[in-house]
Each structure stands twice: as C-alpha cells, then as structure tokens.
C-alpha cells in the first residue's frame, strides 16, 4: 500500500471512529432523557447532527484540498485516485445513513415512551422502514452515479425501491394517522410517487423509450 493510501485510510478510519463515538454518546443521552419537554433533546440532536455532518463533509473537502495532490505527487494513476476517492465517498454515504438512523432511533425510543401520535407517527414509521429506506437511498445513489443517460435497469431499481419504502412507511404510519387511507395504499403511494415520475423519470431517455413502464402499485 502506498504512503498516500495509508494516510488516507488512516484519516478515514479516524472519521469513522469519531462519527461512531459521537453517535453512541448521543444515543446514550437520548436513552437517559426523561423530561416531558422534548425541546432540549431536539436542540441536542441539532448540535450532534451539525457535528456529524461536518465530519462527513470533511471527507470530500479534505480530498479536494490535500489528498488528491498527495496521490498525484506519488505518481498514482487516475484509476488509483478514482478508487481512493470512491473509498471516501462510500464511507461518507454510509455515515450519512447511520446519522439519520441514529436520530430516528433516539426519537423512536422517546415516542414509544410517550404514546403521543404527534411524536410517534413519523419516527416509528421511519424506524420500521429503515431497511427499505437504506435500499432506496442506495438505489438513488446508484442511479445518480451514472453519467447520463442511465440504463433502464437503474431507473426501475430506484422506482421499485421507492415504492417498497413508501409501502413499509405508510403501513406503519397509518396506525398513528387515520387520515392515511390504508385501504387504498396504491392511491397513497401513487400520490407520493407521481412527482418523481413527472420530474425525474420523464427525463430519463431509457424510461421514455421503454414506454414509461411504471410498476404496478
């Protein structure tokens, strides 16, 4: 392993470790939080979120500010540099997911203790749909990673992942929010998907050429 690669991996390791440490401390704080007023917890979470986002953003900003030059000075090939960059980006994406999930876990724990529909509806639904949510974000990133035009398979994969997420999310959310028409899930999912069909899928040539093949809801 080159010296640049070693330094880069060590740097990423520190970021990952600190991110995990801050999340763990925050989850401990959330678990111990018993006050009726959620506002102080909410402010705490804002601070944690800001710190975690700074850590995530430092990956790409450091790459552009220093790391790429160090790899170049070593005479690393374009392929090597691209792989190293992707190593950082992959970590940043994973940390992004873990930050969001950590906050949801903390709030879901509070929701379970309180039985307050106003607090519960989103966080418990989101917690229940974590797997589908992760899959949806992965599909979106995979689609966005293509230099346009994207292949139909990637567009369809993202479409299916979104539908699966909304189905899992709404199935739980309707327990706390009766206005959601659970007996008419295709309507609820369809209304949330429509904007994506109109504003995104419509501009994917492979999708249009294939006759706009929408998944059945």
């Amino acid at each position: 392993m080159s010296a640049a690669q070693q330094r880069w991996s060590a740097f990423l390791g520190q970021i990952e470790q600190r991110h995990a440490q801050v999340r763990a401390e925050s989850e401990q704080h959330g678990a111990a939080y018993t006050a009726d007023d959620l506002a102080p917890l909410s402010h705490h979470l804002m601070g944690v979120k800001s710190r975690l986002q700074d850590l995530e953003q430092s990956i790409e900003s450091t790459w552009h500010a220093k790391v790429d030059d160090v790899f170049a000075a070593e005479g690393a090939s374009g392929e090597t540099r691209a792989a190293a960059f992707m190593q950082g980006r992959t970590l940043a994406h994973r940390l992004d997911d873990e930050r969001e999930e950590s906050e949801i876990r903390i709030l879901a724990e509070q929701a379970r203790r309180r039985h307050d529909p106003a607090v519960s509806a989103h966080v418990l639904a989101q917690e229940a749909a974590t797997g589908e949510w992760r899959a949806m974000r992965a599909a979106m990133r995979a689609l966005n990673a293509y230099r346009p035009p994207a292949p139909l398979a990637a567009v369809k994969a993202y479409e299916r992942a979104q539908i699966a997420y909304w189905r899992a999310y709404l199935t739980v959310r309707h327990r706390y929010e009766p206005a959601i028409q659970i007996h008419n899930l295709p309507f609820e999912i369809g209304s949330r998907m429509e904007q994506w069909y109109v504003t995104s899928a419509e501009f994917e040539p492979a999708w249009v050429q294939a006759g706009r093949p929408r998944e059945p809801l």
Partner: protein
Amino acid sequence: MGLFDKVKGLVKGAQNVVQAPQQPPAPAAPPQNYPQHSTEIPVEASAPQEDETEFDVAGFDVNDDEAAFFRAVLHMESEGQFGGTDESRAEIMQQFGIRDRSHWQLVKESNYAVLARKYGSYEEVTQQEMNWRQGEMQNHMMAQTAKTAAGGGFEPVEGIGLEQWAAINAAIVGGQNHEDLLKGAGIDNARWQRASAEWNARMARDTTFAITTAYGNAFQAASKGKYGDFAREAAAARAANRDVTLQPPVTWEQYYGFMYEQAYAAKQGKDPVAALKSVGLTIVDWTDLSTFMGYVFVRDAGRNWKTYEEIHKRVEAEFAAKYPGVKADVDIQF
C-alpha cells in the same frame, strides 16, 4: 451548492460564453453573406473571412423577444423538469435555424453580447435571465395550484378551509392560546384535530407543493409579526414577477448575522429560537423577514453577487471569531 454558487454560476455562464467586446458594435445593415435573421454587426470591408463567422444570432431577436432566447438557453443547456428534452432541443434548433451544438455555442455567445449591449452589462443580463426563470417557476406553480384546485385539493375539511387552518396555526405560532382560538372560531378540538390530520395528509400526498405553497402564503397573510407587511409584499411581488416596493427593514450584515446566530446556536446544541430572541426576533418575525430578504436577494443577486458575497464572507468571519472553538474534531487531520 448554495445560492451564492448558483448565482455565480449563472453570472459566469453568461460572461464566459463570449469575450465581451470592449466597444459593443453599433447597429449597421446586416452584411449580405450573414445568415438570415443575423443581427446587425459592422464588418470591415477588409475583414478576414473567419471574423464574419464569429457573430450570429440565428433566428433570435433578443431586443424584441428575449424570453425566446432565455427559454432556448434553458432547454439547450439543461435537463430535468424545467430543462429541455431531445424533442424540445430539436424543435428549438429547427425553429431558430441552429445547425448543431457548435453553431448553438456561437449563437448563444452572440445573443448574450447583444443583450449585454442592451442592458449595459453581463451582470444585468444574468439578473434579467434569473427574473425570467422566476416568472416561469411562478407560472408553473400557478398551474399546479389550479390543477390541485380542480382535483378538490383545496376543498374545506369539516368546514375548515386552508386559509382558516393556516391563520389559526399562524396565531398559535404567534403565541396565542390554542383553546381560546378554537373557541373563538367555533371549532371543537376533535373537529380541529380531524381537519389538521386531513390537511397534513393532503400536503404529504401533494408532492407538487401546491398546497404547501398556498398554506405558506395564507400563513404569512395572517401574520401579525413586525415584518408581516414585508412578507406579504414579497408574496405579491413574486406572484407578479416584479421587484419589491419596500426597502429592506434591516441591512444585509444584520440579516446574515441573524442567520449565523441561529447556526452557531444549533452547532452548540442550543435553542435557535432563543438565539433569535436574543436579537429581538420571534420565529414569526424571522420567517417573514427571510421571505422578504430572500426574494430581494433573488431579484438583485445576479447583478450584485460580488457585493453579497463580500458581505456574507465578512459576517461569516466575524461569527467565526465571535464563537471560537465551536468547530469540533479539528484534531482529525490528513
């Protein structure tokens, strides 16, 4: 990417397409060998042949219809909902006599040069283009609103219309007593809860943001905050795609300062609303003020983005000095 970056991109986009002529050419009769619809450009009798091909506005007449050119730029240069498609690009090329992408670059440069002559600077052209795009967005939103209305999306819920729901919510956020408000409006709590649930559900389904936008307008229309009139003026100006008629109630230094007070409070796990209070603002005041200042920025940043950027950087540095040590994890270095 922040708004500053977007504005910079637009300005540079307009400037980079052409080396701005130091002395814009004066109108003259179009040379015989220029393509049809070419603009009037003086050409020296002895000018080399290649110079003649460096200016061509094709079928555009930006002095009379700049919107057609701005629309073409949008379609030729961008994808997505408000951008172009292969079909729309082909149609534009056919309509305005554009041969290929290379010819389009020349046509684009030439038309921006004519516009710069018309408006006096590339920055002003950028602002005019931004204003045109704002108008297009506004037209799109109005169409979405009409579509939602036609589909029954604005029908009252249990007798509570969107405006009334928004007005009561505005009053609650403004600090009035929830129960007193409902009592005054003759609405029992169960009915209010059902109506709120349905309005919230409609907003969640309405990913075109037509209901959310209407709600926001109604919320601010009911605002009794000290900047309520400014928010209402911004909403009226946006609807008419015009500049505001009121002077900003605070300086940009103050406005960015309010932003950074909240940001630094959040970074430290403190209450941003308390940070606002420390500078004499309520959350309603801040919402109204942001609406107004945000719109003023959009209507002016194209021509004055350097000024805004300088002020923003100055305030950013002031706050970094005011709150040293807030940035954590500086020990992690490459």
